[in-house]
Symmetry: C2
Amino acid sequence: MEAIDRKEIIENILYLIDAEDAPALKSIIIDSHPADLADILRDLDDEERAYLFSLMTAETASEVMTELDEVTREDIVSDLETERLSEIVDEMDSDDAADVVAELPQEIKAEVLANIEPQDRAEVERLLVHEEDSAGGIMALEYIAVYEDQTVDDAIREIRRRADEIDEVFYIYALDRGGRLVGVVPLKSLLLRNPRRLIRDVMFRDVISVSTEMDQEQVANIVRKYNLSAVPVVDKNQRLVGRITIDDIIDVLHEEANEDIQRMAGISDEEVLQETSAVRISRNRLPWLLISFFGELGSALVLSRFDATLEEIIISAFFIPVIMATGGNAGIQSSTIVVRSLAMNDTGATRLWNRVLRELRVATLNGLIIGALLFTVIFFWKHQTAFGFVSGLAIILVMINSAAFGAIVPFVLHKLKVDPAIATGPFITTANDIFGLLIYLGMTSFYMAHGR
Amino acid sequence: MEAIDRKEIIENILYLIDAEDAPALKSIIIDSHPADLADILRDLDDEERAYLFSLMTAETASEVMTELDEVTREDIVSDLETERLSEIVDEMDSDDAADVVAELPQEIKAEVLANIEPQDRAEVERLLVHEEDSAGGIMALEYIAVYEDQTVDDAIREIRRRADEIDEVFYIYALDRGGRLVGVVPLKSLLLRNPRRLIRDVMFRDVISVSTEMDQEQVANIVRKYNLSAVPVVDKNQRLVGRITIDDIIDVLHEEANEDIQRMAGISDEEVLQETSAVRISRNRLPWLLISFFGELGSALVLSRFDATLEEIIISAFFIPVIMATGGNAGIQSSTIVVRSLAMNDTGATRLWNRVLRELRVATLNGLIIGALLFTVIFFWKHQTAFGFVSGLAIILVMINSAAFGAIVPFVLHKLKVDPAIATGPFITTANDIFGLLIYLGMTSFYMAHGR
């Protein structure tokens, strides 16, 4: 359904762009949500995109740009005159403006900063100081705060004064006279309370805040855990310096989930879905392919050391893929569950060993089933009872080994402050392949030397 | 840091539980956020958990229960008296109450429904009608709506009337006299507008809503795209029937990301991170292991058909892991990117073939590099120029084949209305192994028959 609708709209717009029908396009722009316009821009080529974008007012353009993915945005920005770009940035919320400015080449950045309003410049510069992935890096300066000794009426007046500048207000923050965050008042309370009451008497004192340096993933976990709609950001002295709204948190969660999934697949974090350059994509993915390529040369080395075994009992080669794949999957299952638990903060330190032991039990249970199946297959297919028994036993050990490795490595990486998600990628699979083949061929050649 | 804090708190609580110091525990309960209490419960064993939970008031217990994961919640619920359970359910918001009731065994469900207040019962029964994963299944009935011909003052009075029952109010919804949703008013507007103005004159008319049957993932995508803080749910006749708040959307996004990641690893959706029974976990994971086990028997069959080749040129066996792993990774990279694009709705139908072609270009580029490396390794290690050339060419073709398969299969599944995420699991890897070995060994044996 939706795909068809979008296709029709795009076709219509392409026709109008071709006809250079500016009035018709402008009226489509006025009637459309900025997020939909962003979707449309993404489906156009460079020239069409530039033309449609040029028809937007600075205000609409600023909203659309905020909704765009990085790749399309960079494309558009690189074609804009500095003056137009400055106008657009001027219309943005501080956090979005800082994001756009941060991506600009050095000389254009300076020009844009010189062109925008002094207050906006000061705000953007204040935000650019923080790490991109920290609470400071994603916070905005558009929040409403009053002193705790002011009244409900003062707060309402403050909202009125800044209504134009701030779109979404759900909470106002209460400060002491030193600027320190001491409470939060939901908008609902302002509506229900006597306007002459002091903020101090209507505020909630248990306000959950985050510090500017906190990692954005941790911020997202806090917002998710406590069901917050916005979270205030404080500096080292508890002074309120910004707020993070839920829509930015959703973007963070989304980004982090994408990152974890891409890491599992051996794709660098930088590969965004909208990237179109095959060369750039190849370059992003190559390192992971090289890891598995060179890692598996280790497997080749293992196999070459067992060439006598392979030549003597060639069917042992037939089951190499079974050993590799089943062991690999058991390892990925264990590592994925452990990595997710760590990412979600679901695992208390007390439960670490429980989890590793549980993974070993699971691998043993499934290993027994898979091992019995492998024995049965070899017995009925090749009528080799002893080799079947050795292979069946080997696959059980391979699965347990993989599961242990998959469960323990993420914990170790976590302790070393390395993102455990890399353990779910080619790295752990390759290691498991090498160990797996060593176990399998080692047992087979031991059996050939001593067993018969 | 956090892990240590939690460990200390847990130890303190364990000590107090052991000493049955109810007053001290109760004061900890009062001082703690329900989400923190939920975390603590998760770290306790059954008996400790039941004791601590019994010390909570029905209201706190209801909030804590809402924050618990399914496994721990089922554990607690199964130990509760029906009367106490009814008290707790009575305190919940309609959507949470429906979630808890839905999980109960049939006879207890009936008892609990009979015990709770008639209005709550009616609400829960109304929500239980909807599919668990639909907008209707996650919506709550706690929203505030007024008719468009009422005034701002009427709206404020309505909020006051229901303030106790509804925690978070960010928007009020405007209805026509037929109950159809016609607009939305942010709370901020109520504060700023003249109380005597009509809702009709202060509302936004472009209200984005979802229908009760819409899939929760699609709802989440809409909320994310349009940066909403809550979304109203309407029935087929546009009548307002509920609202979904952002915290529930975050849970959906979280759940869906987890599902995708788990499917990639060959773990069923049902395996929750808190599951502790090794038997149940094994049963969940076994089907995926069996898929790869039986699939790789296909690889074994392929190898057995080429046993002459393997015996004659044993080093061809050495590179089986390299072929499998590199081809497999190229395939997983392509399928992951395509699956993510489909899940995020990022790919318009117009761009489908572009994407497949791009994946082929990427695979060719990286294939050329990996192929050249493989040739070099074989040349210097085994001094076999011709075999090295054949292997290098084979790995290029294997990678292109895997990437094509990885990019196309998700699109086909998407068309067939099957979740494309299953294509990233063992299924696609296994298929790629079989094709990869066929290509590699087919080329090697062709070279041996004709090439030398």
